[in-house]
Amino acid sequence: MMARIFKHREMLLLVAILLLVGAIELRFPGFVAPRNLVSIYNDTAILIILALGQAAVILSRGIDLSIAANLALSGTIAALLNVAFPDLPVIFLLVAATFSGAVLGAINGLLVWRLSIPPIVVTLGTMTIYRGTIFLLTGGAWVNAHEMTDAFKAVPRAVFLGIPVLAWFSLAVIALMLVILVMTRLGRAFYAVGGNPHAAVYTGISVGRTHFFAYLIAGALAGLAGYLWTARYAVAYVDIANGFELDVVAACVIGGISIAGGAGTAVGAVLGALFLGIIKNALPVIDVSPFWQMAISGTVIIIAVAVNARSARVKGRVILKKAEHAL
């Protein structure tokens, strides 16, 4: 029984997270105070939203390196709309950011689907194009807090039932992605296409279309996160969330989503993001220089992928005994 539970990567990761939190609590009581936990979760909310979008893409054997650039561009569009038309209701800006993200995601998806360009090349290219577009839109200037309306900035910070709205957004996205990945045809198609594209074709799944929808979902979530980011930090410029795409991929990998596609869960992606979020928030508490954060998350990624690879390894049949030594 125990062995079966621990076979799940998510369980292993959950135990690791609990041990980590427990260890910090032992040295520095107060870390697990509800208020602190809510604040850590809130800090991680955007990473969770993006990791869930990235999960859909990676599950279907792709990768979206443009996800942070998409966030930045969509967030900037929302902020610019807010500055230009202060009377527009915030809900409209939220929809606009999500829509812009979906369009940018659809561009990735179409390039992958219709032109069969490898995902890493497409999103590497669109990453720089999307970031460059922010410069074209803003002329390199910052959209600062005092230019944004109060309503624009208030939404993510508003507190509902003791939890900030930003956190509620991420909870809603978690629920949505759980439903999509577990209960819908599209969700199963992600697994099928990522697990074995050729077999997926024979079961009547369009591989290209499935890829397209994965990028569309990742894009829309990045757009939503874009509004949340610019509103929360009350600033929009070319370099927001620069390099964040790697944190997002890291969260997925730590969460046990196989980079080769077809294996992993939404819960894993959330736990992976939380793990990174807890480390980031714990470092100042345990009095370690924040400069350690990058090296630590790098080490965690390597350990996570090594552990996951071990648990996933299938014993192959060795046909030629000698060939085994050659490798």
Binding site: L111, V121, G125, F135, G140, Q293, A295, G298, I302
Partner: protein, 336 residues
């Protein structure tokens, strides 16, 4: 493709000249020449020996790594940690320079750290059998993270005076040391990839690793050596860059891994492995360098250049796909 489509079988293959004219490399040459001509018309300062010499610094350091990266990508792997290896090697050199290390020691340290980082990547990928894209995203964070741990928000300066030669020295008139290094490495990697059995093994592995293994190629060992190469070349680039800048910050060469991969893919190396040439990478390096330089002369901001590079990357891959698709449609119409 429909079943009824009849395939025309030629009685002989196209000649060598025809194939060369239609190759990726000749397309790149056309692009290089076009950029050169456009730039010469756009700015009167473009056709100046010293200006052109300065322009080469835009790509020589990245190209050094791109050569090794080309081999890694042809073998079906990728190394995203190269820019972080530069950061770590540069930090180590800066640290040593604080204790009065001379230029020869610094060179050994730079190359040595590159070698160690490459060996670490190689061990994780071939020793433990982990996917290279994830491993090198991890080590990318780890290597640069270590240099943040050492440096924080500070910087190392105070390199010995003769260390400046690697990044700022000229061998002959306007020909910089970096450019000579670039040319020598281009030739060496060209020979290694195209004229040695090692190069054939790299292609074989990229096309079908399992078949390569059954034909007696030590797949793991070859890949390990390739990651050692990207490591050492990153160390070499670190020496040049550190020497040129004269200082080390942990953010040194940030984001270069993506530019280097762009250079390699633009050079016609198949991102899925198995095909490509060093001459293509050399041409791609020139294209990226000349575009950056030309836009710079016209006061176009760097970020706009990156849009252009992004479009170029997608365009050069998308256009041939579109072209063959349209050409096929035409041919089908003729057949009817």
């Amino acid at each position: 493709m429909s079943v009824s489509e009849t395939r025309f079988v030629p009685d002989r293959l196209h000649g060598r000249a025809y194939r060369m004219a239609r190759s990726w490399e000749s397309l790149l040459i056309v692009v290089v020449v076009a950029i050169f001509i456009i730039n010469s018309f756009a700015s009167p300062y473009f056709l100046d020996a010293w200006n052109l010499s300065d322009a080469t610094f835009n790509f020589t350091e990245k190209a050094l790594i791109a050569f090794a990266m080309a081999l890694v990508i042809i073998s079906g792997e990728i190394d995203l940690s190269v820019a972080s290896i530069i950061a770590l090697a540069s930090t180590a050199m800066g640290y040593a320079a604080q204790f009065g290390a001379g230029t020869p020691e610094l060179v050994v340290i730079g190359l040595g750290i590159g070698l160690l980082c490459g060996a670490f990547n190689g061990f994780l990928i071939t020793g433990l059998g982990l996917p290279s894209i994830v491993v090198t995203i991890g080590t990318m964070s780890l290597f640069r993270g270590l240099s943040y741990v050492v440096l924080g928000d500070k910087a190392f300066t105070g390199y010995p005076a003769d260390f400046a030669f690697f990044g700022q020295g000229y061998v002959f008139w306007v020909i910089s040391f970096e450019f000579v290094l670039f040319a020598v490495m281009a030739v060496l990697f060209g020979i290694l990839l195209h004229l040695t059995s090692f190069g054939r093994m790299v292609f074989a592995i990229g096309n079908n690793a399992t078949a390569a293994r059954f034909s007696g190629i030590r797949v793991g060992r070859v890949k390990f050596l390739l990651f050692l190469m990207t490591g050492v070349m990153s160390g070499m680039a670190a020496i040049c860059l550190t020497s040129r800048l004269g200082s080390t910050r942990p953010s040194i060469a940030f984001g270069w891994e993506l530019e280097i991969v762009t250079m390699v893919v633009l050079g016609g190396i198949n991102i899925l492995g198995g095909a490509g040439s060093i001459i293509g990478v050399v041409l791609a390096a020139f294209i990226m360098g000349l575009v950056t330089f030309g836009f710079g002369l016209m006061n176009v901001p760097g970020i706009v250049m990156s849009i252009f590079i992004g479009l170029l990357l997608i365009g050069v891959i998308a256009l041939p796909v579109l072209y063959t698709r349209i050409a096929r449609r035409f041919r089908r119409d003729e057949a009817l």
